[in-house]
């Protein structure tokens, strides 16, 4: 895979995710779609297995670095590295596992897998933060609300993937997903 193309696309996806979140949010519910998850699904549908897993993991790591949790006692925000990285990795692994069973270039596949991936991301992050709630007094987190928001956002992400997914699929030659040309080894795994 061409990692430069992935980096540029991920940069765009993160920029849109952070910038358009308010505009795409449903009311003040916190329910908003994820551009990053759609990118993750496109990559996991087409890239070699290890490449897809690494790309998913890196996307999750960056999501961890942009998600803040405010400690209610001190009013200071902090990041937690891991929950989104693991969630994205599981989402990527699930797509990789399921891709043999689906038509990769179908919009319906994109919609279905985007929902599954975003829902898994929501479930994993909620589960990990819920475990930490048991012993971390500095964590402000409402598991039920977060899970509800996560699943509703997954449905919204599936809707977004119907629009963004085909665009990314159309640009997939840029990613050189299946190149074996030794001249391109420096940019491919």
């Amino acid at each position: 895979m061409n990692w430069i193309a992935y980096a540029v696309t991920a940069w765009l996806a993160f920029g849109l995710e952070l910038g358009l979140r308010d505009g795409l949010e449903i009311g003040s519910s916190g329910i908003a779609p994820s551009f990053v998850v759609v990118l993750l699904v496109v990559v996991a549908l087409q890239a070699p297995v290890m490449t897809a897993l690494w790309a998913s993991f890196i996307a999750g790591l960056l999501l961890d670095l942009t998600n803040l949790v405010v400690d209610p006692a001190s009013d200071i925000a902090h990041i937690s590295i891991g929950p989104h990285a693991l969630g994205c990795l599981l989402a990527g692994y699930t797509v990789v596992t399921m891709r043999a069973l689906v038509m990769r270039r179908s919009v319906l596949t994109m919609v279905f897998l985007s929902f599954i991936a975003a829902a898994l991301l929501g479930i994993v992050t909620t589960a990990l933060f819920s475990i930490r709630l048991l012993y971390d007094p500095n964590l402000a987190f409402a598991p039920a609300a977060a899970l509800g928001r996560g699943l509703a956002s997954a449905a919204y992400t599936a809707g977004l993937s119907a629009v963004v997914g085909p665009l990314l699929m159309w640009s997939s030659p840029l990613f050189s997903f299946h190149t074996n040309d030794p001249r391109h080894r420096w940019r491919s795994i």
């Binding site: 308010d22 990041i79 990990l128």
Partner: protein
């Protein structure tokens, strides 16, 4: 393959193990890593900022319903609000100085005066799904922003929230309407002003979601009506945040199980999560030391 060599698969397994440990560590151990958020926010700012502008153009912030809309009138109202806030602050300072004078006469020291500075900064994005109501602002410690003591203000007098993370070039502020998710709820003390010259009554509010705050009104409050302004009067907030507008009363109803007590719902006049620019009000570097953990 030689035994013990590093393969992408093994490296990924190690990274997953590190993430599992990091994800389950209490936040006091992971707090030092928060500094990594700043370069990442800066990295995405060239896209997130214009996207944010587009987003706020498509869904602009709700403006106060003034009945009239000429720009000059807006400016004059802003100025009036600013001077009104300063007048109220000076009233509070006069009362405080009188009290300090009494204290001094009793042999106690005067507290040093605190100055503040304003910095206008653009909102470049919002934090993703985990916790809402956190605005990413393009100003950081290099601009003098400090955590907790810096507050976010809109249109001169509207309290937006408090800075909860500071990086070198970016910072994050949590809005007052978002301080509700989690096990603990943050209470905000305020004053309801009954008319321009009328008395003010205390209230204690907490965010309830849906961009609103709700809480008890003082038991001796009379003449409180829908539409009246609630201002901040909370010692937990910095001095320069006092008397800023929290919002207007949207509804009043009797409190269940507490005869004679009333519950008020307050909505900020602006949609805090959809602001394009905010003013960061922070301590003057020369006048304050400490205050931030």
């Amino acid at each position: 393959m030689p035994r013990g060599s590093v393969t992408p698969k093994r490296l990924l397994a190690l990274a997953v193990l590190a993430c599992v440990i990091s994800a389950l560590l209490p936040s006091r151990f992971t707090r030092p890593l928060t500094g990594l958020a700043d370069p990442v926010q800066l990295l995405f700012a060239p896209i997130s900022f214009p996207a944010s502008e587009v987003s706020r153009t498509l869904r602009p912030s709700r403006q106060p319903d003034l009945g009239l809309d000429p720009q000059d009138l807006d400016r004059l109202i802003d100025e009036r609000n600013t001077y009104q806030q300063r007048w109220l602050q000076s009233q509070g300072q006069i009362a405080e100085l009188r009290a300090q004078l009494r204290d001094l006469q009793e042999g106690r020291a005067l507290a040093p005066a605190v100055e503040f500075t304003d910095l206008s900064a653009p909102v470049i994005g919002a934090t993703p799904a985990l916790q809402d109501g956190i605005l990413t602002i393009r100003a950081g410690s290099a601009d003098g922003v400090v955590v907790r003591d810096t507050i976010a203000v809109a249109r001169g007098v509207h309290l937006v929230g408090r800075v909860v993370r500071v990086g070198r070039r970016t910072s994050s502020a949590q809005t007052i309407t978002a301080m509700h998710r989690g096990r603990t709820q943050e209470w905000i003390d305020g004053l309801v002003f009954v008319g321009p010259e009328g008395p003010a009554f205390a209230c204690q509010l907490q965010a309830i979601g849906d961009d609103r705050l709700e809480g008890d009104l003082a038991s001796d409050a009379t003449g409180v009506e829908v539409g009246q302004v609630v201002r901040l009067n909370d010692p937990q907030w910095p001095e320069w945040a006092q008397m800023l507008i929290v919002g207007r009363i949207e509804s009043i109803r009797p409190k269940e199980g507490a005869p004679g007590r009333e519950l008020i719902t307050v909505r900020p006049e602006l949609e805090l999560e959809r602001l394009r620019h905010i003013v960061l009000r922070m301590p003057d570097e020369t006048s304050v030391s400490g205050g931030s953990p």
